[in-house]
């Protein structure tokens, strides 16, 4: 059992002019559910592909379960489960054949887990994978990954495009499949309601950089919201740490990172009034954190 599930040092990846990952350095310890959060294009998929050796970094190194990504030995690969967004599986294969193929390759295969995870998706083993709906494929993909008995499970936006029922089934399976396995889960998503339910740790990627690594509550507590009245549109010069501002009937809803204790006093000094504090849900707070620089209804 390794102590560090994922280790990344100085990782960069450039596509033409675009820097998908910039100087990433962090370590994900073994155990628990780690949410990797960021908007589309923040670099989450790129990071996964680099971690598993399917893409070479422009600079830096990475390692999973102690093995370097560029040269992952087959035994280590056998201990990592990977569920991608598209859930790409050979469309010509029957579900039963696919399961048999995977069973033959993974020594720690658990048939009971496979059936248990797949059960709510009502998939017949003679159906061809190509004929499954997206939700069914997602369930199948997760069932295959979980039945392997992985030590590290990487999930890349797995519930994207799934309806509510499929989403619930997926999350149930993810949280409670089989007996408790010693598994580190890295869950990349920008669906904050799922992150709120699942995550023990929160890793935030923004434009290819790691901008926060903490428990979800720790980051959440740093973000405060206020309904204010201001003579001019809010900007970062006057309100330091401003994340997001939204115009609302002549007033402004501002969301601020690390607001000082005496925030109303600060507002006074720039000619504004704090009307009342906003109570921010997790998704609103974290999305505001992710979207620094955006504003609705006014300039920033």
């Amino acid at each position: 059992m390794v102590e560090v599930a994922v280790a990344v040092t100085g990782l960069r990846r450039r596509f033409g002019r675009k820097e998908a990952l910039q100087e990433l350095t962090f370590e994900i310890p073994a155990g628990g559910v780690h949410a990797l959060v960021g908007r589309n294009g923040a670099g989450k998929s790129t990071l996964f592909r680099i971690l598993l050796g399917f893409l070479a970094p422009s600079a830096g190194r990475s390692a999973v379960l102690g093995a370097p990504s560029g040269a992952l030995p087959p035994q280590i690969r056998g201990r990592i489960g990977w569920v991608t967004e598209e859930h790409a599986l050979p469309p010509w294969m029957a579900v039963g054949t696919l399961a048999a193929l995977q069973r033959a390759h993974y020594p720690r295969w658990r048939e009971a887990t496979f059936r248990e995870v797949l059960a709510p998706f009502a998939v017949d083993s003679r159906q061809a994978v190509g004929g499954l709906s997206r939700g069914e494929r997602a369930g199948l993909s997760l069932a295959l990954a979980l039945a392997q008995g992985p030590e590290l499970l990487l999930l890349d936006e797995p519930t994207l495009g799934l309806d509510v029922v499929a989403k619930h089934a997926f999350l149930d399976a993810l949280l409670f499949a089989g007996e408790h396995q010693e598994c580190t889960v890295v869950y990349a998503s920008h669906q904050m309601d799922e992150v709120e339910r699942l995550a023990d740790h929160l890793w935030v990627l923004k434009e290819g950089r790691l901008v926060s690594a903490s428990s979800p509550e720790a980051l959440w507590e740093r973000i405060g919201g206020w309904l204010v009245e201001l003579p001019h549109p809010p900007d970062r010069a006057r309100i330091p740490g401003l994340l997001q501002a939204r115009a609302l009937e002549g007033r402004w809803e501002v969301i601020v990172l690390d607001p000082p204790e005496a925030f109303p006093k600060l507002l006074d000094e720039v000619g504004g009034t704090a009307v009342e504090p906003l109570s921010l849900g997790f998704d609103r707070a974290i999305n505001a954190f992710l979207s620094v620089g955006s504003t609705v209804g006014g300039a920033l």
Binding site: R197, A199, D200, L280
Partner: protein
Amino acid sequence: MIQIATGDPRPIFRQIVDGVRMQVATGELAPGSRLPSVRGLAMQLRINGNTVAKAYNELTAEGVIESRKGVGVFVCEPRQRLSVEERERRLEEAVQHFVSAVVALGFGPEAILERLAKEMEGLILPSAKEEASDG
């Protein structure tokens, strides 16, 4: 039934804590009744088990529930654990919070008190007389 909602301004574990406290106070959860296990509640609510564990830990520290090894998690007899000073401080804090929230609404003091009395009516409050031995 304990319920949680994502998007709520309170963290999920806090919602559980508040929810259990409320159910105990309204009598829905009688003392000695059994709570779902950590895993069971996590499955029911579709959340990470650690969150439930955190909530249960806080409730246990407050003395609301207790865990009996091998048997389960049960509601405790209502018992006061906090010291007089601590209780006073918390009451003061809650009153201040309440007052600042309703002061601008325009209701008269009688109406407000009446509402408060109505809410408190059905609740079973831990006895103020019994105090924890070590505060």
